[in-house]
């Protein structure tokens, strides 16, 4: 029941934000903040629950019995970690929007909370129909956030975001339906239940095609080459809060889908496909790091680095061993924080000087010392400095991947060098050098406020915790990953014995 509450609190809170705007234009943001904090608090009650089972909480109710669809929510350690990330970044996003979004604030927070509700649904749904349902539900409010509060080219960006994710989503829907139909053929009843579908074995090439439906959908959201081109547009046009949610949370739903569904449902097809997926990952890491260096728009640059970092997640997932998966999960969490922080910094800059164009910037250090310090911290985190969360994630992913595919891992590791190059390059461009010949109005170029510092401090704390004592997080995801690994290993073993 706790899971239903988690979702419905956000839905109801969103409606309340919308309605409360009529009372007072400042009320929506307060209500939104209270709602997300409440949700965050409720999530902690998940941690102790569950007892010996890996599932911390389960809720199941019949929904559409004609198709064997049930309203089946369940959370384990992996879901719980991602749920907390979602709520944490939800609070951060509200902070980012606090002063920035003045126009139609009620509707903005409505969309923000409904996006979060969709994401919470995605991280907890274990009925594949329900999963798809939430997968699509989170798109519309995100589309509206970009389309209404976005920047100069918002229509194009919002449309591209929606069409990319929706069309590839339909491929996943077909794949889900094929799974359900084969469950009907092999076991006599339609079912969309995750545990039931794990038992389905697809004949011949069918497994590969169906797996591809999931893979394309998830790697579009992740995103990975060659389905990444929506992301730089969406990020550069979205308002800061939208970018925070997009980079911090929405991308992680793709990674979560790969770990939870794409590989476990099709272990054999996935392992056969792994070299291609890992190659795509390595190409993503290097290519997007290189493309990032060619950007003038600071938000586009951060967006490309996101694609590059998410490559380590794909690499880790398709190596499919415990270290690699741990690395993938840690990268998801750490990148969620560091990318969100970088987008907030870029958004903060844009809010102050109304441009994202880096050649116009430079020499900001003396003007905004606190902001510079924060930017250095998160850039260094993003490039993988030991002691911070990103290092743990990428290091584990590479160690795990090394056991699966040496060549690709070695190639992918060069991404770390490129990451250092672009991170330091941005710092140099924006904060160092001489401050003169500025073409913009710099009267609003003021340092971070206390409220902003508070959010950044919270994110710094998270990254340091992940870097210095990752066991807290590894311990939560470890039993889940072990379970996934052993589940997917069994069919492989039996098929080897048969063969």
């Amino acid at each position: 029941m706790i899971l239903v509450t988690l979702i419905s609190v956000l839905f109801v809170g969103g409606l309340a934000c919308w309605l409360s705007e009529r009372v007072n234009p400042n009320m929506p943001r307060t209500i939104a903040l209270i709602t997300v904090l409440l949700d965050f608090g409720l999530m902690f009650s998940l941690l102790g629950a569950g007892g010996t089972s890996t599932w911390l909480a389960v809720f199941e109710a019949p929904w559409i019995s004609r198709f064997g669809i049930s309203f089946y929510l369940a959370a384990d350690g992996l879901s719980a970690l991602l749920l907390m990330l979602t709520a944490f970044l939800g609070v951060v996003a509200i902070g980012a929007a606090w002063d920035e979004v003045r126009e139609r604030a009620g509707f903005f927070y409505f969309n923000l909370l409904w996006t979060l509700a969709g994401v919470v649904g995605v991280f907890t749904a274990l009925d594949l129909f329900l999963f798809f349902f939430f997968w699509e539900v989170m798109l519309i409010p995100m589309y509206l956030i970009i389309a209404i509060w976005g920047h100069e080219n918002k229509n194009y960006a919002a449309m591209k975001f929606f069409i990319f994710t929706q069309v590839t989503g339909m491929l996943m829907l077909v794949s889900i339906l094929v799974m359900a139909y084969f469950h009907y053929l092999q076991l006599g009843a339609l079912s969309f239940n995750y545990h039931d579908l794990l038992a389905v074995s697809l004949p011949g090439d069918m497994g590969l095609w169906v797996m591809l439906g999931f893979f394309i959908s998830f790697s579009t959201k992740l995103p990975s080459m060659p389905f990444h081109s929506w992301l730089p547009d969406a990020h550069s046009q979205a308002p800061t809060a939208g970018s925070v949610i997009l980079a911090g949370v929405l991308l992680k739903t793709g990674a979560y889908g790969l770990i939870r569904f794409a590989v476990p449902l099709f272990p054999e097809a996935s392992m056969a496909f792994a070299p291609i997926a890992m190659t795509l990952a390595a190409v993503s890491i290097l290519y997007c790091a290189k493309v990032a260096l060619a950007q003038d728009d600071i938000k586009r640059l951060i967006a490309y680095t996101s694609v590059s970092h998410m490559g380590f997640v794909t690499l880790g997932v398709y190596a499919w061993n415990e270290q690699a998966l741990q690395g993938a999960v840690m990268t998801m969490l750490a990148h969620g924080l560091s990318a969100a922080a970088l987008f907030m910094l870029a958004g903060g800059l844009q809010h102050r000087i109304h441009t994202r164009n880096m050649p116009d910037m430079g020499g900001f250090w003396p003007k905004v010392p606190k902001m510079t310090a924060v930017a250095i911290f998160f850039s260094v985190a993003a490039l993988g400095m030991p002691g911070l969360g990103n290092f743990i994630g990428e290091f584990l992913a590479l160690i795990g991947a090394f056991q699966a595919n040496v060549t690709l891992t070695v190639v992918a590791a060069f991404g770390l060098i490129l990451a250092s190059v672009y991170s330091l390059w941005v710092l140099q461009k924006v904060f160092q050098g001489a401050y003169n010949n500025k073409s913009f109005d710099d009267s609003h170029l003021i340092d971070l406020s206390r409220r902003e510092m508070l959010y950044f401090a919270a994110m710094m704390f998270g990254l340091v915790w992940m870097g210095l004592y990752p066991q807290t997080f590894l311990g939560m995801s470890e039993p889940v990953l072990a379970q996934l690994l052993s589940d997917s290993a069994q069919p492989l073993v039996t098929s080897l014995e048969d063969g």
Partner: protein, 487 residues
């Protein structure tokens, strides 16, 4: 052949409709009174729907050789009558400002509904043709209704003549096809064709006959390549007539096409499936691609309806391949969804318009979200539903189509469905985006100042239905599962 009282009871929806029209006509003869005529029509349509729903649980009988009254036909009778009632309510404010006689429009609407109900209950060529012609004849009048108005915003005469000429030609095809089939089989009932499909229907004349019948019905459904009339007629007709044409005009014909195909087992004939698949793919691609180019909401919805009819044909093809009734269920559910979302979309359009100024270019909707949030939210929901996004009934409908397609392993048709839906997103989102833009001052004056509360009630009702069936469709799915066994 005698007709018993029990038969008359089963025919009560049709009788109620006919009675309504006669009553309304007599009332007009006594004295013209616009609200009274509308009230009579709306009440009659409502009573017909109620009687169909009460009869539904245990009716299953052939009444005269022409009509079959079973839960399936009664379900669609109720759907048609309720939709017609909604359209009548929406028409009321729309025609109120017309500088011409307004009452007769509702007679035409009633007669058209009689035709549609006969179509839904038909399992005989004669009743199919009678129903179709009754429906079309009334629609000619409805399309041309504002022609004598000095202020008519559109070109109803052009639309009406175009519809009349092309529709008559299509009826000619249909009749010729029926004659050829009759020449081979000596029967006009759908069910007696089934026994003959193995032998006499297999040869050349019957195949050509079948193709002509399909072409005739494809014209009425505006399936590509028989779709040329659709955008012009949709654009030229007054909005409530367009609404009628787009919803009931399509649904009733699809029901009779479905029954004909299922009962006569026409799809076992070589080539029929290929023809239907081709029509489906062409309609999906042509409808969606041409919709991309439109600046006019009515034309855009016309092209999108072509695409939606193509989606429905996928389920029709699937119904041949799969055991059980999933294809029929998918068609039935999607028809319900399609009627709800088209009614809603056209309903909002006609609410902001009136007979002397139709707001139908996409630019007219700029900023609607901030001027009329509720109306714009309804319109947005309808667009998202047409695009097949969750939380709306359109998603469940599309899910059903995908499900039928997957069970039948129709991969090329599913690919067309995905591509078509992808293209469709673009033009539906374009309308939504336009509504979200900030309005300029000149836009405020352009819209009808007074919104009728009746129309508001109708679109809100449709909006709630859209959400309710999108979130908890189980009751309707169960009902449709039960009635689909009767086809």
């Amino acid at each position: 052949m005698t007709i018993t009282t029990a038969d008359l009871l089963l025919l009560s929806p049709v009788l109620a409709l006919t009675g309504t029209v006669v009553l309304a006509m007599s009332a007009i003869a006594v004295g013209r009174n616009y609200p009274r005529t509308v009230l009579i029509t709306v009440t009659g349509l409502f009573l017909a729907a109620v009687s169909a729903m009460t009869l539904m649980p245990d009716a299953n009988q052939q009444v005269t050789p022409l009509l079959i009254i079973d839960p399936y036909s009664l379900f669609f009778t109720a759907l048609i009558c309720l939709s017609a009632m909604f359209i009548a309510v929406l028409s009321y404010p729309f025609l109120e400002s017309l500088d011409d006689e307004r009452e007769e429009y509702f007679l035409l609407l009633g007669v058209a509904t009689v035709g549609a109900v006969v179509l839904a209950s038909s399992n005989h060529f004669v009743s199919a043709l009678l129903g179709l012609e009754t429906l079309s004849m009334s629609l000619y009048g409805m399309v041309a209704y504002t022609v004598h108005s000095s202020k008519a915003d559109k070109y109803p005469l052009e639309a009406s003549v175009k519809y009349l000429v092309l529709s008559a030609a299509a009826s000619g095809f249909l009749l010729f096809g029926m004659a050829l089939v009759y020449g081979q089989t000596g029967t006009l009932a759908f069910s007696s064709l089934a026994h003959l499909s193995g032998t006499s229907l297999g040869n050349g004349f019957s195949s050509i006959g079948l193709l002509l019948i399909i072409a005739g019905l494809a014209f009425k459904l505006s399936l590509s390549p028989f779709h040329m009339w659709t955008p012009d007629v949709y654009e030229g007709a007054p909005l409530p007539a367009t609404t009628y044409l787009a919803t009931i005009g399509k649904a009733a014909v699809f029901v009779v096409l479905l029954r004909f195909m299922e009962v006569s087992e026409a799809m076992t004939l070589a080539g029929t499936l290929a023809v239907l698949s081709l029509l489906a793919i062409l309609s999906i691609l042509a409808g969606n691609l041409l919709a991309l180019l439109q600046q006019n909401v009515k034309r855009l919805l016309a092209y999108s309806s072509i695409a939606h009819m193509g989606y429905l044909l996928i389920a029709m093809v699937a119904s041949y391949h799969v055991e059980g009734q999933v294809g029929v269920e998918a068609i039935s559910f999607y028809l319900v969804a399609y009627v709800i979302m088209s009614l809603g979309a056209f309903g909002v359009t006609s609410m902001v318009s009136s007979s002397d100024s139709e707001l139908d270019t996409i630019d007219d909707y700029r900023g609607l979200f901030w001027r009329q949030p509720l109306l714009a939210a309804v319109f947005t929901a309808m667009m998202l539903s047409l695009a097949g996004i969750p939380l709306t009934v359109g998603f469940i409908g599309k899910f059903y189509l995908f499900f039928a397609g997957v069970e039948a392993a129709l991969w090329p048709l599913l690919a067309a469905l995905i591509i078509g839906s992808g293209i469709g997103l673009y033009y539906y989102l374009r309308i939504i985006y336009r509504m979200l833009e900030s309005a300029s001052d000149s836009d405020h004056s352009a819209m009808a100042s007074r919104l009728s509360s009746g129309s508001y009630g109708v679109v809100l009702c449709l909006f709630l239905l859209l959400l309710a069936l999108g979130i908890y469709p189980a009751p309707v799915i169960d009902l449709i599962e039960a009635i689909s066994t009767y086809v």
